[in-house]
Symmetry: D2
Subunit: 317 residues, 4 copies
């Protein structure tokens, strides 16, 4: 990730500026405020603003006048209770605003989460920089043979290099076309006398951009509450998610650890590392605890669910 | 509005506490942070937290690295442009969190705005204070005779006094019943030996509360972004809204003036004091400008729309 | 639940009317269309309209041109997979519209689910019928002694009768006040000659209603998609929900069984009868399966979570 | 737009199938159900399902047992009143589900409307057809010189042909790369004996697709209520919207005319052909009606707002 000198200066100016506030403030998050945290080859996440902290969750759950309890252990217990019972509204009382730079194909997955606010950089209005995502060689993998949706084994070194060359060349050619289409294609029309003179113009930006690849980087401001961010992460930090969006999700998890450590710990225990058992899965667990041997055939579960359950229990399927 | 000494102390403690932050900070709003601003007889609005300021709207609209332009006049022009063309997403980048105390019948209108976060005080869990809304005498009005939905002329003084007495007496009687239902109704059951002794209990709170009137005060934490707050205000600060929710909306307008004065001014000009003309209404305006006489009959408008248009133009219908 | 003759006739007219459609149609749901299904003493749920069926979920998941697969077993397997992995968007492709009559305190819990559309009967515009919820004697219970939020043991018969009388009397008194406030309180003002004569009016409806109890029945049209309905049910058909809203949730479950039986079965297995284990809970299960004795003390879980886990596994805590 | 024989057959099968229903049914919409209505060069909109009609809006506004009034003129008047006063909830009681094929850059604008449900064809799971959008020559325009966001004059014929060739060649090259990347790049690994034999695989689909252009066609199921559809159309059928999404919006308007003609007429009058005046704009209108000459300078409006107002009034700026 590279930053222009002007952008760097703007960020430094923002970081240098401090004022007094009565609001809930989180020093660990203030440390990284405005700073671009790199993701993938050209992407980043910047925390632009935040509202609330761990205590704000407690305060909202209690609808209290002050900050709620003073003891961290009580706050933690309440937060864990709320997370376990999916009482989501107190977590909605914290909010975070991010500036994200990301490839368009990642942006398309990301935007599926509708309960967030977004302002995207307009390629109708502005010209895009020549920046596209090129996967690292060890991230180039073949189609999965067990899961129709996903990647399997990494490609052999030579094949990976070849693929990278091909991806790069196609993207460069698309950007070449983009740049040339934006250049005036015809001499300016003759001034007619009854209107203002017009300069020759290139193809409209909103049209030129359609030739760019899905790997092109875009940017947006994105704002979301903590409950919906947890929901986003439970799907996008999951191993079924595409690696590229997962890379952003991992960064977000780090940010959350700084911001609301008690909530982040509860999320880790109950949502990320937790597992949901169906009625049938629960019955299998009960039989196993009772010492009864259970097999895929006698479990009453579908093959796929059986495999998933054995994996969760750390057993051979 | 009265505040317990404990609540007052909690608020003072919060207000005394200041820390340094790198975030956008609004001194005029910090001044009133946490302070209950009275509404109606027992209600209030307290600003608990906020995110962003006028410049944050500009910054999001530009997806910029820094704070956007430095000149207030440019920011104002952009904000007016966004408001005029209903580009709502940059306004969504500001967020405010409030603690509100309000009668339940107002809460029921308020909650219809779904794009907000809310945590309400639970009357299943806690016992409600004996606080209900009793309208001021000059707010007691008869059913409107021109508008099926709304109030008309204020009642004569004597009638108003009578109505107030009746409203008060009914509410007091309901709270008497509530208090008594919560008191243990039967002696504790005999200890049986095989379980813990049980204290006698009153009726479950979740049941006792159903006897309380719609004028009872409740409380909630409520969080909303600026765009949706403007939408709320365009409906609830409107003269068609019931007076009691309008009283809250007026307070919210004052809060917005402190928080985001440029956005508030644009809202006032384009939304609050603006007017929307239909195709037919626009045609009437064109004819009037051309000096043509237009009457209700020749306008092509429905009677009601004609009256509304004449009112907007400051003319006799 | 009683229905006026006029309402009954309107419903019969609707039911008598059948037309041909190319849309997905569900005979088992058509059977009960428009018919009020009773809930509590005066409430009901009526199915007014619906969109989609089990196959519509499959069709959307596949983004297909036709109805998707023809074999029910394949559809069922896909639906179970979607439910298990919380792929919610295909379930959002089914929609249902209901007419519900319910006490206001239930309506206040219900409306917390924001991802639905609602049109409520307006007590600003119309006068409410004298209908309020009075719990059956065996539903009158004391405050729970183990759970601060909920009811415990049913009251003894005599106490229950006393409570019912008290609830009824308070509600009747409130409705008496309501009725009288709506009656003109003063003689009509003398005609002044320069305006229309005005009839004497009662207190504005929007004010008179504030004296009514939270047990008063209201009505609304409510429309929601199947995914969000499942979410509603996972919270409101749960044993932690207040009995009165649970009564509506149970009716909704019956409706769903008729409408989308495959989705309903998947919901039952994975969400209603399923259980979510935390990282710590999963570790306890693994140890139990390995034959290791685990106690509350050695489990590493909080007391409350331990109790909940043992209950789920059908063991003594 | 071309359709495979199999897809055509699936559609014909759906259309041939009719059943009886008690639901509100709209013959004019049934006529085109499932049929692809072409948009742009390869896109389409298909109506898959719908809920409600004009009377359903009235019925919800009245929270009635039956179908509401019987006279069309009363229904029309109520619908116009609701539209004029932005009472949006009754319009939310109608819902429509569409199957749409559209270029990805259009999909990215479209998805910004969050209050809808969507299921998109997955390019992680499936291989995309070689279909991309190529603008008609007369739609190829230069960058606007008055509006930074939009297109201006159409390009001269020769330049347009050149641009089209360039766009086509770049897209074809990207699809060539895509196709080749999906082909197995290396021989299958030697069977090891302790696992299943693996076939050689090409690059994972989720990676290969990143090389495709933004003009590539995608497909989705999209479901939205009538109020939010009107909001979508007020932005996307507007002359400021990019031509390509406007082409879809125009088709949607035709669909709405068939489905809910009274609502569509009210939308046309109050929203599409209507105009919103600011406080300042209203003052200018009043002065013009009073016969006072007003110029840009004496109007008190910004230059841009003045120009927009004069255009709305059909006057020279």
């Amino acid at each position: 990730m590279t930053l222009s000198a002007a952008d760097r200066r703007e960020i430094d100016d923002l970081r240098a500026d401090r004022t007094l506030t009565r609001r809930a403030t989180v020093p660990a998050l203030e440390e990284i405020l405005y700073e671009p945290l790199p993701v993938l080859d050209h992407g980043f996440i910047r925390v632009i603003d935040y509202m609330g902290d761990d205590r704000a969750v407690v305060q909202a759950a209690r609808v209290s006048y002050g900050r709620g309890t003073r003891r961290v252990s009580e706050d933690a217990a309440l937060i864990r209770y709320l997370m376990r019972h999916r009482h989501s509204s107190p977590f909605e009382m914290c909010e975070i605003k991010l500036h994200v730079k990301l490839p368009i194909f990642v942006a398309r997955q990301w935007i599926r989460h509708r309960t967030a606010n977004v302002n995207e950089y307009s390629a109708r209005y502005s010209i895009l920089d020549r920046e596209f995502y090129l996967p690292e060689p060890d991230m180039l993998a073949g189609q999965s043979t067990v899961n129709r949706q996903g990647r399997g084994e990494a490609l052999p070194t030579a094949a990976a290099a070849e693929v990278r060359d091909r991806l790069r060349a196609t993207a460069e050619a698309a950007f070449d076309a983009y740049d040339e289409l934006l250049v005036p294609l015809a001499p300016a029309p003759e001034p007619t006398g009854d209107g203002p003179e017009t300069d020759p113009v290139g193809l409209a930006r909103e049209l030129a951009r359609i030739t760019l690849p899905l790997s092109t980087y875009t940017q947006w401001y994105w704002k979301i509450d903590l409950h919906n961010l947890f929901h986003f992460l439970s799907l996008r930090a999951d191993r079924h998610a595409q690696y590229e969006i997962r890379a952003y999700a991992e960064r977000l998890l780090e940010i959350i650890e700084r911001w609301v450590p008690l909530c982040a710990a509860a999320f880790r225990d109950y949502r990320r590392s937790g597992v949901t058992l169906s009625a049938g899965g629960l019955e299998v667990v009960r039989r196993l605890i009772a010492g009864e041997p259970v097999t895929a055939e006698t479990s009453g579960l579908g093959r796929r669910e059986w495999r998933e359950l054995m994996a969760a229990l750390g057993r051979q399927p």
